[in-house]
């Protein structure tokens, strides 16, 4: 589904990713762990199509398409979804309106008719239950005045609404209390199917107690230096990142 080869990325002339390789098949959950500044978020943003990140070398093939040639919105239409580490507040656009526009734009690209108000509301109510988010929150402007936990739940809610093929969760666990963490994890597990894949980016092993990964990769200094199964995460938790560096 996703094939990243020898990816080199820089931001403002700082080299961040230095030859990263990653292969993700459908139905899989991959966890990418690593210390601060190792390039985890850069990887997420590059896959999602952030222009400010410059790809100097390498390729990303997604569902047989050259991903780097597509704009961010085209990628979303092809089924890529990024749950942001720091979801931005956008005053003046209601969350519901925003999600409705997004859902219908994606439907439009697949040649489907836009959802009318009634059917949209029906789908929305269904998905709201998954992340326990309430209607009043969604009638407010995008993320405006949302608590940290509410912002993260809103990300997973959007993911549920857009039903992506490849979801990237960028430190969705950071800043969450244990209850919110469970709700988010439950949501992710519920949305999991044999046809979609998930990449979880995290510092800690904590989230991986609730979402069991098939693969764990350690990203240090712009490269994946070690890969393994879920046990690798536990080992890292015990021994720290210096253990892999050594």
């Amino acid at each position: 589904m996703l094939e990243i080869k020898n990816l080199h990325v820089s931001v403002n002339n700082n080299k961040i990713l230095k030859g990263l390789n990653l292969s993700v098949n459908k139905g899989e959950i991959h966890a990418i762990m690593g210390p601060n500044g190792s390039g985890k978020s850069t990887l997420a943003q590059v896959i999602a199509g952030r222009k400010e990140y410059k790809v100097n070398k390498g390729s990303i093939i997604y569902s047989n398409k050259k991903l780097l040639e597509l704009s961010a919105d085209e990628r979303a239409k092809q089924g890529i979804f990024l749950a942001f580490q720091y979801p931005i507040e956008i005053p003046g656009i209601s969350t519901t309106n925003f999600i409705k526009t997004a859902v219908n734009k994606i439907r439009e690209s697949k040649g489907k008719k836009p959802l009318d108000a009634v059917s949209f509301l029906k789908v929305m109510k269904e998905k709201m239950k998954i992340v326990k988010i309430n209607q009043t929150l969604l009638s407010r402007s995008i993320n405006e005045g949302f608590s940290g936990g509410e912002k993260k739940r809103n990300e997973i809610f959007q993911m549920a609404m857009l039903d992506p093929k490849l979801a990237i969760l960028d430190e969705t666990d950071s800043g969450l209390d244990i209850d919110a963490l469970k709700i988010v994890a439950k949501g992710v597990n519920k949305l999991k199917s044999k046809d979609n894949a998930t990449i979880i980016i995290t510092h800690y092993q904590r989230l991986l107690n609730y979402i069991i990964p098939d693969y764990v990769h350690v990203l240090i200094d712009g490269k994946i230096v070690k890969s393994g199964n879920k046990n690798l995460a536990q080992e890292l938790e015990k021994k720290g990142y210096d253990w892999v560096r050594a």
């Binding site: 199509g49 222009k51 704009s71 919105d73 990024l82 003046g92 656009i93 999600i99 857009l162």
Partner: protein
């Protein structure tokens, strides 16, 4: 560059009413002052030069033929109250005026109304300070009195539709009116300027609004004319406990200048001034506002927001005066701008002049671009760049539109604004 202004004097002789003639002559004598202030007040808008290039600006056009407005256009305003003018002349038969409001040209006024007219007319305007109000005052052919009765409180808005029709060649029109809002009345006006052919025209509109005690007025102006050189001056004078809510929405126009002058003459007045401008191509829109706090305990609140694209040009100049007597004044002012192209320009200048010592005042302005993070967030959800831009610009306008109290007006402006913003995708 500009012809001899003293030749405008001959236009005064066309005035048949002796009192109006005296008023016009008085204004004529302030020519020196008007030309002197022009330099400073039009520093960023060379309107006079631009208009003079294309029009013989001191000319007074005469219209003999009766003109008709296309029914299709009028149908858009069906079942709404409307005051209609064509080329500055009131069209009584086409207008639909609610009970509790009377509208008449000066020569049709009864004696009581004539007294009211003489008391207020041309006393509050900026004809001795602004060259275009000056021209308007000397050259208008018809002046209108709109009188709102005591305790009037119909919720429905009243359109003021100023049509400009020219059969051949460019035209010059001067629109002039006085609105007296009597005690405890509450009214809503939506004023539009609509030219019905694509010929370039120059128009001036001067409005004086007198607000008696406890009166409330919501006044919205929509400027959405393509090739129009337009000057608009609104002059409001408020008495105790009165409330004014002014909105200026500018979407196109070759060169547009708006003067908004508010005098808070007595205690406990409340004035809101809001504006939104979205400019493309070579449009030039200049908003000049003045609020004069003359007595204690009043509040003025001003917020203008604008978007400039291509080679367009915006100007904002907001002045707040707080006189010595005006203790416990609250005055706020802010102007926010988004520039979408490297060639677009905004000149913004907030000004405060405070003579009282117990006041709360703030002012500020910002100039920025569209938030890249927000753009990426929307695009990452499958929303195209073009759609994301118009969504963010819409969100930017929301803060102003939200402030409109009248629901019909709010929906109308919202619809128009979002439609206009769809073009801002470069």
């Amino acid at each position: 560059m500009i012809k001899d202004f003293t030749s405008i004097k001959k236009n005064i002789f066309k005035e048949t009413n002796s009192i109006l003639k005296t008023k016009k002559t008085k204004v004529f004598n302030s020519l020196d002052n008007v030309l002197k202030t022009y330099k400073e007040e039009y520093k960023y808008s060379s309107l006079l030069r631009k208009v003079s290039k294309k029009f013989d600006i001191l000319r007074v056009d005469s219209y003999k033929k009766k003109k008709n407005i296309d029914k299709k256009i009028l149908n858009q305003y069906k079942n709404q109250y409307s005051i209609i003018t064509i080329n500055g002349l009131f069209q009584k038969n086409e207008s639909k005026i609610p009970s509790g409001i009377s509208v008449n040209t000066f020569d049709k006024l009864n004696n009581t109304d004539k007294k009211i007219f003489h008391k207020f007319f041309n006393n509050q305007d900026d004809s001795k300070n602004d060259i275009f109000t000056y021209i308007n005052t000397i050259n208008y052919k018809e002046s209108l009195l709109i009188k709102i009765d005591k305790n009037y409180s119909k919720k429905n808005h009243i359109n003021i539709l100023n049509f400009i029709i020219s059969n051949s060649g460019e035209s010059i029109n001067h629109i002039r009116k006085l609105i007296v809002s009597n005690q405890n009345s509450k009214s809503v006006f939506i004023e539009e300027f609509i030219s019905l052919n694509s010929i370039e025209n120059f128009s001036t509109s001067v409005t004086e609004i007198i607000q008696e005690k406890n009166s409330e007025i919501e006044y919205l102006i929509i400027q959405n004319d393509k090739n129009n050189f337009h000057f608009n001056s609104i002059n409001i004078s408020q008495k105790q406990n009165s409330i004014s809510n002014c909105f200026t929405f500018s979407y196109s126009g070759a060169v547009v200048r708006n003067n908004l002058n508010i005098k808070l003459k007595e205690k406990n007045c409340y004035s809101n001034m809001y504006g939104f401008y979205a400019l493309r191509k070579k449009s030039h829109v200049d908003n000049h506002t003045t609020v004069d706090h003359m007595d204690e305990n009043s509040i003025s609140n001003e917020h203008y927001k604008g978007i400039m694209d291509n080679n367009s040009n915006g100007v904002f100049n907001g002045k707040i005066f707080v006189r010595k007597k005006a203790q416990k004044t609250n005055a706020f002012q802010s102007n926010n701008n988004i520039l979408l192209s490297d060639e677009a320009k905004i000149n913004t200048k907030p000004q405060l002049e405070i003579w009282a010592d117990d006041v709360k005042c703030s002012h500020g302005c910002t100039v920025g671009q569209l938030d890249k993070e927000a753009m990426f967030y929307l695009q990452s959800r499958g929303i195209s760049k073009e759609k994301a831009i118009s969504m963010l610009l819409g969100a930017f306008s929301e803060e102003i539109i939200e402030k409109i109290e009248n629901q019909f007006a709010k929906q109308k402006i919202k619809k128009l604004t979002y439609k206009k913003l769809e073009d801002f995708t470069s």
